[in-house]
């Protein structure tokens, strides 16, 4: 048997959040945590959590698993279990809507702030804007982010200032467009990040790198943005990163 401790909170009925323990027979196969939650959901239909693709693509089921953020659908229970216990909590730092479901408004507001779309004022070609294979390689390790918020919600700087500090996920995306050879708004993008909070509140704690379920390195992207802000490093001088932590 394993004990699954789940953070429970229903603002309509509960005055305070509490932890509910479910004892369940350890599955014979090493199933994913999301499957275990689905089994528990059959026992208690009131447990709330987000899920969609069940293969680490949509980023819906980000949660705090035994103190570390991750995606339930790609975390095997053998990896999550500690002393026959699994502790599941909502992503830290964001308001809880119910149980493991958090309000992502602040997270998306920061994503919106960095203008996550290609900006190019030159005349568009007949078909598409091309780039060299070398320029395309610069986007590896950046575009793969699925916006699960595991990184931003593990960052203390984001906990304290989610309205001012852009956070690792959005900064990774900011750099994804700064590094893109087809984007011509590099100066404007950097200008938008030049205040004391947006980027400079990153103190290199590196929780973001530690928890990213896609093995991306937001800290490297933030470092590159800082370098560009401080030394006026040009886009052409960006070196291809392997993207992995």
């Amino acid at each position: 048997m394993i004990d699954v401790n789940i953070y429970r909170y229903n603002p309509e009925t509960d005055k305070f959040p509490y932890t509910q323990t479910y004892s369940i027979k350890k599955p014979e196969k090493d199933i994913m945590l999301l499957e275990l939650l689905n089994i528990l959901k059959e026992q208690d239909s009131s447990i709330s959590y987000r899920r969609s693709c069940r293969e680490g693509v949509c980023g819906s089921d980000g949660m705090n698993i035994n103190g570390k953020n991750g995606l339930a659908c790609i975390t095997p229970i053998s990896q999550a279990i500690k002393k026959n216990k699994i502790e599941l909590r909502p992503l830290p730092g964001l308001p809880v809507i119910r149980d493991l479901v958090v309000d992502m408004t602040e997270f998306y507001a920061q994503y919106d702030k960095i203008k996550p779309f290609l900006q190019n004022e030159t005349e568009p070609p007949a078909q598409e804007r091309l780039q060299t294979p070398e320029d395309r390689d610069k986007l590896d390790g950046l575009y793969e982010c699925i916006l699960c918020a595991c990184c931003s919600t593990s960052c203390p700087s984001f906990w304290w200032n989610p309205d001012k500090f852009v956070g690792p996920a959005a900064l990774l995306q900011a750099y994804r467009f700064i590094a893109d050879s087809r984007d011509t708004k590099t100066a404007e993008r950097l200008e938008g990040l030049s205040d004391p909070f947006s980027v400079y509140r990153c103190h290199g704690i590196m929780n973001c790198v530690n928890v990213c379920p896609k093995d991306l390195n937001p800290n490297h992207a933030i470092g590159e943005i800082k370098s560009m802000l401080l030394s006026n490093k040009k886009k052409e001088n960006i070196i291809v990163s392997d993207g992995a932590s």
Partner: protein, 116 residues
């Protein structure tokens, strides 16, 4: 220069200066007779010590301001107590006023001692 960049450079360059000043102090210890007379009469020492004191206060200001804007906000104090969070701006402004006043007082006090 943008404020974010200014604070970043201020913290890094002041830290480098602290290291250099420490080296200078060590050098004096080896090469000069480190006496009260030397401290009060050497123009180079007095100047470098004055710069050290000013930079130490500015360096501390950047760090303490960061602490204030991280931990003395409505959100952060709200984790402790919702009623406390309504006084967050007052606490933070008081904290900033306190360390700015203290910093300026210390700079004036030490510069007066060094140069008088």
């Amino acid at each position: 220069m943008k404020l974010g960049k200014l604070i970043w450079y201020l913290q890094r360059y002041s830290a480098i200066y602290f290291l250099l000043f420490l080296g200078y102090m060590g050098l004096i210890g080896f090469t000069e007779r480190f006496s009260f007379q030397f401290i009060t009469q050497s123009f180079t020492f007095k100047l470098s010590l004055s710069i050290f004191i000013i930079l130490a206060c500015l360096h501390a200001f950047a760090g303490l301001w960061t602490i204030g804007t991280d931990y003395l906000t409505k959100r952060t104090l709200g984790f402790v107590s919702p009623s406390l969070s309504s006084y967050a701006d007052f606490f933070r402004k008081s904290f900033e006023f306190f360390f700015i006043s203290l910093g300026i007082s210390l700079v004036i006090f030490y510069l007066f001692i060094i140069w008088s």
